[in-house]
């Protein structure tokens, strides 16, 4: 057990999976010698060489397209897209191809790969180094979507994603990369996909969040605690398939739910979560289901803290929901 940040934890998961399974290969822009622009793949090229840690040309469609071919052939590729904002040149390969390989071949061909990509704001990345496009991939049938909030979960979830037989989008909160350190076992372990976790038990309001916004939700919960509002904070960890049961269990206790995400509001994943909970738990509601999200605008540079649903925006919503 050693204190690790998320960059180190993900790096360790990659190394251990590559040691365990010769089919695992890493590819992407700058992932080799330099170890990635965030250093997440640092040292892998030295240990596993050019054949398993592939520095690619600047071509996201090529990265994902070749990864799909490798996966279909029997490998376990882990392509990296340098920033989630730059995933769109590969959108066709992900949405039309990876997501549908299994279905369109009657299950004969599959696409077991993990697309790792740093996402989200809070690092002064402006319009194109800050976005959170998870909903686009959840909307696409056939993709799993994972988003860890801390180093321990990141390591276990990434290992599980690599061992999973379906394509997984693995969104890494870059604001958390080096900001959080915790005890992480040195040995290999997996955490099951599709299981949310109650990270703060409470009675009055259920707050659902993931990735970097989990910390904002926790900080807001702390603030309103002083005013006598007890929040139960759920970290989704896997966004899709959704652990609806855990959310429903919490909401049927609290009667209130607030979802927090930094992606824009319109068709954001919060909308889907709230509707699914409404279908199950309508009669338990004591307040309208609510969201605190990014605005329906592109992501600004200077005013990013005005865009993000930070604690100062979550607090009034928690109070309003609790006092409804």
């Amino acid at each position: 057990m050693t204190q690790k940040n998320m960059v180190q934890a993900i790096n360790e998961a990659l190394r251990l999976e590559m040691q365990r399974d010769g089919r695992v290969v890493v590819l992407g822009e700058d992932v080799g010698k330099v170890g990635g622009v965030f250093r997440v793949t640092q040292g892998l090229w030295d240990e596993f060489g050019d054949d398993r840690v592939i520095d690619t040309p600047l071509n996201e469609a090529g990265i994902i397209g070749t990864a799909i071919g490798m996966a279909a052939y029997g490998m376990r590729p882990v392509p990296e897209i340098q920033f989630a904002d730059f995933i769109y040149p590969a959108f066709d390969q992900i949405v039309s191809e990876a997501a549908k390989y299994r279905y369109r071949s009657g299950g004969e061909y599959t696409c077991p790969m993990v697309i790792r990509t740093p996402y989200g704001g809070g690092i002064k990345g402006g319009a194109y180094h800050s976005q959170s496009p998870e909903a686009l991939f959840i909307h696409t049938a056939g993709l799993k979507v994972v988003c860890p909030s801390n180093p321990y979960d990141a390591k276990g979830l990434l290992a599980a994603a690599i061992q999973d037989d379906d394509p997984v989008l693995f969104f890494e909160p870059k604001r958390v990369y080096r900001a959080v350190k915790m005890d992480v076992p040195d040995e290999a372990y997996t955490l099951p996909l599709g299981e949310a976790k109650v990270v703060r038990p409470g009675e009055d309001v259920t707050v659902v969040a993931w990735g970097a916004m989990l910390y904002e939700a926790l900080s807001a919960a702390e603030t309103v605690e002083a005013q006598g509002i007890s929040c139960e904070v759920v970290d989704l960890r896997t966004l899709w398939p959704l652990d609806l049961e855990s959310i429903v269990r919490s909401v049927e206790k609290t009667g209130r739910i607030v979802v927090v995400h930094e992606a824009p509001k319109a068709c954001g994943f919060g909308a889907e979560i709230l509707q699914l909970v409404t279908e199950q738990s309508f009669l338990h509601f004591q307040a309208p289901p609510a969201r605190v999200t990014g605005w329906d605008t592109p992501f600004p540079y200077t005013l990013e803290n005005e865009y993000l649903p930070l604690a100062h925006r979550i607090v009034p919503q928690l109070i309003a929901t609790a006092n409804y």
Partner: protein, 371 residues
Amino acid sequence: MRTLPPDDPTLTLFSILREDGTADPQQDAFLPRETLLAMYAQMLRIRRIDERMLGKQRQGKVGFYGTITGQEATPVATGLSLSPEDWVFPALREAAVMLVRGFPLSTWLAQVYGNEADILKGRQMPSHQSGRAVNQVAWSSCIGPQIPQAVGAAMAAKARGDRSVSVGFMGDGATSQPDFHAAMTMAGIHRPPVVLICQNNHWSISVPTEKQTASATLAVKAHAYGLRGVRVDGNDVLAVHHVVKEAVDRARDGGGPTFIESLTYRMGPHSSSDDPTRYRSQEEVETWAKRDPIARLERYLRTAEILDDATLEGLEAGIRAELDAALAEVEELGPPARATVFEDVFAALPPHLQRQQAQFLAMPPAQLAHH
């Protein structure tokens, strides 16, 4: 299959300035003294702006900065080859073309601060300047999409019978993107007045050009698309000027598009976030330092007695004064107004954004992280 002769202009390297400070007399255009001095002054100006702004980044006064050190020749030569009606679609390292074309330095610097004087309203990271006043089109951050857009603007100019030329820039990395293929294909077929310029600076962050493509050169790709292609020494401002001006004039006169590979070197880090010592040798950097485009032109100008110490001192003082004044004008300005978060999503604010904006303005302002 046709084999290219070894002296094909896509395989050789066109240059004019020689190591010893003289120019190849066969190629020298004997440009007027003022043009030569303007080239020198503009390159020096960009170098000094970059040095000062990278320093600001290191002091924590700005959040990010991308220098173009070593690559000043191409934007300067291009800026000096264009007419006001021409359009520029920049990539990472061509924001300074605007300055060469007369865009005010203070406004350009305000973009780096993303403050209330920034005409982009603080939406983009630093080093993403654009401006309608000089037909410099806003660049996203994504590598490649502007290349077909440059072709499209040229197709529009052609359809409308205008005499404007469109220039699309890219780095070597961008030539691996599907958008490059799309642009070259469309340019070859429609033959609009476009000049596509690839600054091959040898590196795409940590990936060297030989890992970017197995092609002998980038310029040679032009042939496959039916385009005219030229490979030029990008650290030789006279050569770049010659090649770009010829391509622009030709495009304007209906002679069709050109793809230019300008071979150069990124002397500095990829950006203020990069540490190039992790992937390239100091020797390589030093070899290229000897080919510095500014020093190279300086040798020529001194040999030709166009530049002396006094002139140089005057230029430096002028640049310093301009930079000091521009910074003084914008450095301490505040952020864009909060309401701007919702502007420019659409031409007019639709109801859902009106509601969100009202909700937002009713809240106390957020703490802005320092930048």
